[in-house]
């Protein structure tokens, strides 16, 4: 009996100490915090913690964006306006929202705090330094929503029971092209063919437009006006290097004339494979752009099958040029019987006829030296 009791006591003590240890451990997560981030006095007490108003530190939360709850219903404010179905995860994905910390501004690298942990639910309260819950939420939402839709009213978010949801944002009208006015002394204006870039390279808006205000695009009037984005960027404090970086990601060139008209130009160092998904083989790489992209003006994307440029080539093609003399059985087959991708880059398929053979162990002929290139 005594033994059992003492074991129990031992277990209890162990449990308690485990809990006791767990607490300091969880505190240790925030140990790197500066006390003065929260306390105005160096000697805060329990009765007078001398808490400062929210310091709005920008700290990085450690949560993946996809951990965010998909939708949160924010409580009904009154008779006039319905509750808000807040697409929380979608917002977390928005580049402008800057991840979690865009809104959870006081998230000290710990589990994300609920808004009401800091923001009082009641407006009548003692601590006036920070807004109450309702105001804090409104401010977070309205700051962006108002910027991209200044005329949007309460019903943008507060959808009444049964009413159709208002379009959350306006459709973006991508501009045809944009002329950037730069500070360069020579070649001041840079024409950017916006639509060509997005169409040809299948770019999503956010691939380039990162960390920008939603309102910069989600408003027809502004986009139609096609204000030089670059000046807006330089106004926004971007350095020249940062402004160049946007284009230089693809245009790996140091020739100013590539973009700035009237300045010395060199051949484009354009990474065709990376930007278009069609890597130029060594033959194609030697060609002038206009050999394939005919005509003048903007470069249009082309179909990637060989036939679209090399019309009727299959009829006269000598397979030996590719380093394989086809044997009698295979000589007269259609190309597509073995090559089922249009660019003839994937390995040939034997399985459509043979159960027991596979490239490259079995070859439909004899390997020969590749023919030397002409010209």
């Amino acid at each position: 009996m005594t033994r059992i009791a003492s074991v129990g006591l031992l277990l209890l003590t162990a449990g308690a100490s485990a809990v006791a240890q767990a607490r300091p451990a969880s505190r240790a997560a925030g140990a790197s915090l500066d006390c003065r981030a929260c306390h105005t006095s160096p000697t805060p007490t329990r009765n007078n913690p001398s808490l400062s108003a929210c310091p709005r530190l920008k700290v990085q939360g450690y949560h993946a964006v996809d951990e965010a709850p998909p939708v949160i219903t924010l409580g009904t404010p009154g008779k006039t306006y319905g509750p808000v179905k807040f697409s929380h995860r979608e917002h977390a994905h928005m580049s402008a929202a800057n991840g979690c910390s865009g809104c959870h501004h006081y998230d000290q690298a710990r589990p994300i705090q609920k808004c009401k942990n800091c923001h009082a639910v009641s407006r009548a309260r003692g601590e006036l330094g920070k807004p109450d819950l309702k105001a804090a939420m409104h401010r977070q939402c309205i700051e962006c929503h108002r910027e991209w839709n200044p005329t949007g009213g309460c019903s943008t978010c507060h959808i009444k029971e049964g009413a159709a949801p208002a379009p959350a944002r306006k459709k973006v009208a991508a501009p045809e092209r944009i002329v950037y006015e730069t500070k360069a002394t020579q070649g001041k204006s840079v024409t950017f063919f916006h639509k060509d870039h997005t169409d040809r390279f299948a770019l999503a808006c956010a691939d380039c437009h990162v960390q920008e205000s939603c309102g910069a695009c989600h408003d027809r009037k502004r986009v139609a006006a096609a204000q030089p984005v670059l000046t807006r960027q330089t106004r926004a404090g971007l350095t020249e290097d940062q402004a160049h970086e946007r284009c230089a990601n693809c245009h790996t060139t140091d020739a100013c004339g590539t973009c700035h008209k009237g300045m010395p130009s060199r051949a484009l160092a354009f990474d065709h494979g990376r930007r278009t998904g069609f890597t130029l083989n060594r033959f194609h790489a030697r060609l002038d752009c206009r050999s394939c992209h005919k005509g003048t003006g903007a470069y249009r994307s082309l179909a990637t099958d060989c036939e679209s440029c090399h019309k009727g080539w299959q009829k006269t093609f000598d397979h030996a040029r590719a380093g394989l003399q086809l044997d009698e059985q295979h000589k007269d087959f259609e190309c597509e019987s073995c090559h089922d991708d249009k660019t003839f880059r994937a390995k040939p398929v034997c399985a459509s006829c043979h159960d027991d053979k596979a490239w490259p162990a079995h070859k439909p002929g004899k390997a020969v030296p590749r023919a030397p290139r002409k010209g």
Binding site: S52, T80, R123, K134, A135, I142, C154
Partner: protein
């Protein structure tokens, strides 16, 4: 100090009328006595937060039982196209001012009685119908008011409005700091309605601290000036903004209390009632000394 002697004189002077009517003079409690409590309340308006939703306008009308269209109609920003002033039908209004850096997002400013710490209207009111309360509110008493509109002349913020189209019992209309609501433990209507808490209600001294703190933390966001902290000796309602207050149509006012000059003149003329009594004595003396003089200068002309 000046009051007893002056009042006793006036009492004697009005004996003919007042005493005959059998009425005991009731001296206004509104006098200039310093009743400012350190706990007096106020509101801090942060114009950088205000979104111009005009919910405060609606809430004000509801709080004062004034006719109003439903709340949804206030989402229409069209009335803000032109500059409005509080009047007898609306005790508070929101005006908008174009922002130089953001044409789409104007600065919006709520206007109402500032509830001065040294109100010109209280000093001016002929019958003391307007009074400064210990809690900061400046209130108007319908039972005393005679409708002379001197408060409107005196107010440096041009706030009191008058019901010009009422033949009987026209009222002076202005923000009453929702005194009735606050007695029930509620917040002022506008403060409660503000969705973004651009209006912070609390003890004035605390609000000054909060405002200072905001400016200190966000020097880029705010102009280093709390409008109403010192203007005309301080007001219960105070404002923060990101640009000069003159650009937001706030009057540029000195720090002296608005009634200061006027009151010191009044008190100077009646200092211990010496000047009028001296004048009386002087005239009496002249009358006595010249009593036998029969001038005939006219004859000699």
């Amino acid at each position: 100090m000046k009051s007893p002697s002056r009042r006793s004189f006036l009492k004697a002077g009005t004996a003919i009328t007042a005493a005959a009517a059998g009425l005991t003079p009731r001296v206004a409690q509104a006098g200039p006595a310093n009743i400012l409590s350190p706990d007096r309340l106020g509101v801090l308006v942060d114009t950088t937060v205000c979104i111009g939703c005009r919910n405060c306008e609606w809430a004000c009308k509801i709080a004062h039982d004034m006719p109003t269209p439903p709340l949804e109609t206030y989402e229409d920003a069209a009335p803000m196209q032109e500059m409005r002033r509080p009047d007898e039908t609306a005790l508070t209004v929101v005006n908008k001012y174009d922002h130089p850096a953001r044409p789409d997002l104007p600065t919006t400013v709520k206007v109402q009685c500032m509830h001065c710490d040294h109100p010109a209207c209280v000093s001016a009111c002929i019958v003391g119908a307007i009074s400064k309360q210990a809690d900061g509110a400046v209130l108007w008493d319908t039972d005393m008011c005679i409708g002379c509109r001197y408060c409107m002349v005196a107010c440096p913020f041009q706030i009191p409005a008058f019901e010009y189209h009422k033949a009987i019992q026209p009222r002076i209309m202005k923000c009453d700091f929702c005194t009735d609501r606050r007695k029930e433990g509620k917040l002022p209507g506008c403060v409660e309605a503000c969705p973004v808490e651009a209006l912070t209600f609390g003890p004035r001294e605390e609000l000054v601290r909060v405002a200072r703190d905001k400016i200190r933390r966000n020097p880029d966001r705010y102009l280093d000036h709390i409008y109403g902290e010192r203007e005309v000796g301080g007001t219960s309602w105070m404002y923060l903004a990101d640009r000069k207050f003159e650009e937001l149509a706030f009057p540029k006012l000195a720090q002296d209390p608005a009634p200061g000059v006027s009151e010191s003149i009044q008190h100077g003329i009646f200092a211990y009632f010496v000047p009028p009594v001296s004048l009386y004595a002087l005239l009496g003396a002249v009358m006595w000394t010249t009593r036998h003089k029969h001038d005939d200068e006219v004859e000699l002309l």
